[in-house]
């Protein structure tokens, strides 16, 4: 009986629960973590930050989704032209088992939103990423509310990823602006773990906040704060990746062979 109850716990909707993102400043600004079972909106700071925003959305989904539950990523064929097709090895490198992902590839925003609502209603999922390019007419306050409602009913978190977007209808719980951040370099000046610069533009239940710089820790599946101090490393614009960087990652034995 106890086992049944325990198991039942895992399937209960997560709506209303707050899940930690970085165990730090971001969680505090959000009032104790990111709400599950609602709609979050991510706006890349520039189109060139689309890939970083995709990675951030994926990382957030991993924070929000109960373990092993499948993820759905809905995107348009146009997104593939703009920022490339998702690469399973790259998904795995960010901590998602590619077998957990269902990819829905559709033609236009109306179809994506329609599929998005359908998918968001399915309580068996971990999280849904909906990628819509630009500002299509179909994406308005009503369609965002519809997504929000579906998420609240099923307890599935929905992340709306909007590269190239200008207007924001404003039906989401939180809205973030995201840019790719410089990484903490590894020895030999190799790029380190993914880093993100994020700003909380809008929060339904609190004030906006940021900016913060976070680093994604794939192994622990959580973000870790990264201090802007790392900027100093890349002070020389023409620095060549040829020698040991001035400030190697402290306390980490991350020796890598270049080549």
């Amino acid at each position: 009986m106890a086992a049944i109850e325990r198991a039942g716990d895992g399937t209960r909707p997560l709506a209303g629960r707050r899940l930690p993102v970085d165990h730090g400043a971001v969680d505090t600004a959000l009032g104790g973590g990111l709400a599950a079972g609602v709609l979050h909106e991510i706006l890349p700071a520039a189109v060139a930050d689309s890939a970083a925003a995709g990675g951030f959305a994926l990382a957030l989904s991993l924070c929000l989704a109960p373990a092993e539950r499948p993820l759905v990523w809905i995107r348009a064929a146009a997104s593939v032209r703009e920022s490339g097709e998702l690469h399973p090895d790259g998904l795995a490198a960010l901590g998602l088992d590619p077998a957990r992902l269902i990819l829905v590839r559709l033609g236009d925003a109306a179809a994506i939103l329609r599929a998005g609502v359908e998918v968001a209603r399915c309580a068996a999922l971990g999280a849904v990423i909906i990628e819509i390019y630009g500002d299509p007419k179909a994406l308005d306050l009503t369609s965002e509310r519809r997504l929000m409602l579906a998420a609240e009913q099923s307890g599935v978190s929905v992340i709306l990823l909007r590269p190239g977007a200008k207007a924001a209808p404003g039906g989401a719980e939180t809205r973030w602006r995201l840019a790719s951040g410089p990484t903490r370099p590894l020895p030999m000046n190799a790029p380190g773990r993914p880093a993100f610069d994020l700003t909380l533009l809008r929060h339904r239940h609190g004030p906006p906040g940021g900016p913060w710089r976070l680093e994604w820790n794939r192994d622990a599946k959580r973000f870790e704060p990264l201090h802007f101090a790392t900027e100093t490393i890349r002070s020389d614009p023409d620095a060549l990746p040829r020698v040991q960087p001035a400030a190697p990652a402290a306390g980490r034995a991350l020796w890598r062979h270049a080549g």
């Binding site: 890939a51 970083a52 690469h87 795995a92 179809a111 068996a124 990484t183 790029p191 993914p194 990746p241």
Partner: protein
């Protein structure tokens, strides 16, 4: 005198327009196929002329064949102008063979198609009789007698051999049947003997039906055609329940279902849905059909209504009754397959994908995106080292995008590169990681690639490669951008 001008269908042959078909009015005037149009014009003032359109003819024949599905699932195209229906075991449903033939021809006539038909125990006999003596229904075993006095041209040999038969004094099929077969085979080919055996019912030449025969099938015939959406859905629900019962008896579930709507004006519409697991759940099936009907780009036009609706299942598999477990895991799985099926029905299964690994190290061939319906979830090889940054990009360009890059040393990482007209200055880089083409796919233009993970000064991360080994494979190697890191 006929009031209307005779209609002639012409085709270009050896630079002249030749009549290939004509209407009854033209027939009465003696304008036969084979005549040139110029000669026909000399005989008759102002005939109506149209050019032959074999593609449209074939399409029409296909549509008639679709419509003929209502009589039997075994319908085959027979040449460019005939259909062959296998009526084995179905005639009694329509009140006997004579009633069936009468019904079929009457309805086709009503659509404006002049058709002839015959029923016989062998396909060859039916073919010959439909042309020479339409309306004939040969009693079982009577084929040899029925075809005796037909001209030899009808056994279906090529023109030269038919002429040779006539020249040899063999005018009717009966003449051939009476002869010893060995000399016939020696003179006119084994095919000739084979055709005779087919005509007399000694040998059966199978027909090749256009469509698969459903494993389980249910249908509703309406004397008063239905056209309202609710009625159609109710009909489908009833049919789904019937099919479910049939499948249950077989201990199977279907993976592919097809609903066929026969409109009174002869138009036939087929709508298929697929499921990711064998299913016989009538309710789930109706949901899928509703999704599909909802999403049709050309909606189901009821027009004057449908007089026959049919539901069949094709691919069936053993159905495993899953015990309802208490931990909710099975329920989750059901919900997930249900979602995939519904998305597949609405948007098409080819839009709902999952990645399946491939055994290669070439990045763009590492995985294939296949429909979830078609492939079970596959295990992915785990080769991640804890603490390592991502070594593969989140997204990949296919094909890789050419860039202009400047490197300090020819075989070193780039210092700067220009991608999509934007200049990026490299702040950090790691590499090269050399990925060589697989030798069994190697051709002269496949080169080694040296990959670099680079980060520009804005903090954006890219996966670049240089194609060709410097100084060995290529004089001035080209650079490409292959992917973007998160």
């Amino acid at each position: 005198m006929p009031a209307e001008a005779p209609l002639l269908i012409t085709e270009k042959a050896k630079g002249a327009l030749v009549i290939v078909a004509r209407d009854p009015a033209a027939l009465r005037l003696g304008l036969a196929p084979g005549l040139t149009l110029a000669e026909a014009r000399a005989r008759v003032a102002d005939p109506a002329v149209a050019e032959a359109d074999p593609a449209a003819d074939a399409a029409l024949l296909e549509r008639i064949a679709d419509w003929c599905d209502r009589y039997t699932p075994l319908v085959a195209l027979d040449g460019a102008d005939a259909l062959m229906l296998d009526l084995t075991g179905v005639a009694h449903l329509f009140g006997g063979e004579a009633a069936l033939l009468e019904d079929c021809l009457r309805r086709l006539n009503a659509f404006g198609i002049s058709a002839r038909g015959a029923i016989a125990g062998s396909a060859d006999a039916a073919r010959a009789l439909a042309r020479a003596r339409p309306g004939t229904i040969v009693p079982s075993g009577g084929e040899a007698l029925a075809v005796r006095d037909l001209p030899v041209a009808l056994i279906g040999l090529d023109a030269a051999r038919s002429l040779a038969l006539v020249r040899a004094g063999l005018k009717t099929i009966g003449d051939l049947i009476d002869r010893p077969h060995a000399p016939l085979a020696a003179r006119f080919g084994a095919e000739c003997v084979d055709r005779i055996a087919g005509l007399t019912g000694l040998v059966h030449h199978p027909i090749s039906p256009r469509r698969l025969v459903p494993v389980a099938l249910a249908e509703r015939i309406f004397f008063e055609p239905v056209s309202r959406t609710e009625d159609i859905e109710a009909t489908l629900a009833g049919l789904a329940a019937d099919v479910a019962v049939l499948l249950e008896k077989r201990g199977e579930g279907g993976r592919r279902f097809e609903a066929v709507f026969y409109r009174v004006d002869g138009f036939v519409r087929r709508i298929a849905v697929a499921t990711s697991r064998p299913s016989r759940d009538a309710k789930a099936l109706i949901r899928l059909f509703r999704e599909k009907l909802d999403a049709l780009s050309d909606p189901l036009e009821a027009g004057f209504g449908f007089d026959l609706v049919r539901l069949g299942t094709f691919a069936t598999e053993p159905f495993v009754e899953t015990a309802t477990s208490l931990d909710g895991r099975a329920r989750d799985e059901d919900a997930l397959t249900d979602l995939v099926d519904r998305l597949g029905a609405r948007f098409g299964p080819e839009h709902v994908l999952r990645f399946v690994p491939e055994d290669t190290h070439i990045p763009e061939r590492r995985a294939r995106a296949v429909p979830v319906l078609a492939a079970p979830a596959a295990r992915w090889p785990e080769d991640l080292v804890a603490g390592e940054p991502p070594l593969r990009p989140l997204s990949l360009f296919n094909p890789p995008e050419p860039i202009e890059a400047l490197a300090e040393v020819p075989d070193g990482p780039p210092l700067r590169f220009r991608w999509r007209r934007v200049l990026h200055r490299v702040a950090r880089a790691e590499g090269p990681e050399r990925i060589a083409p697989e030798w069994w796919r190697m051709s002269d233009d496949t080169l080694d690639r040296d990959y670099y993970r680079v980060e520009d000064q804005e903090g954006r991360r890219f996966w670049l490669y240089r194609e060709g080994l410097y100084g060995q494979e290529a004089a001035s190697p080209r650079w490409y951008l292959h992917g973007l890191f998160a």
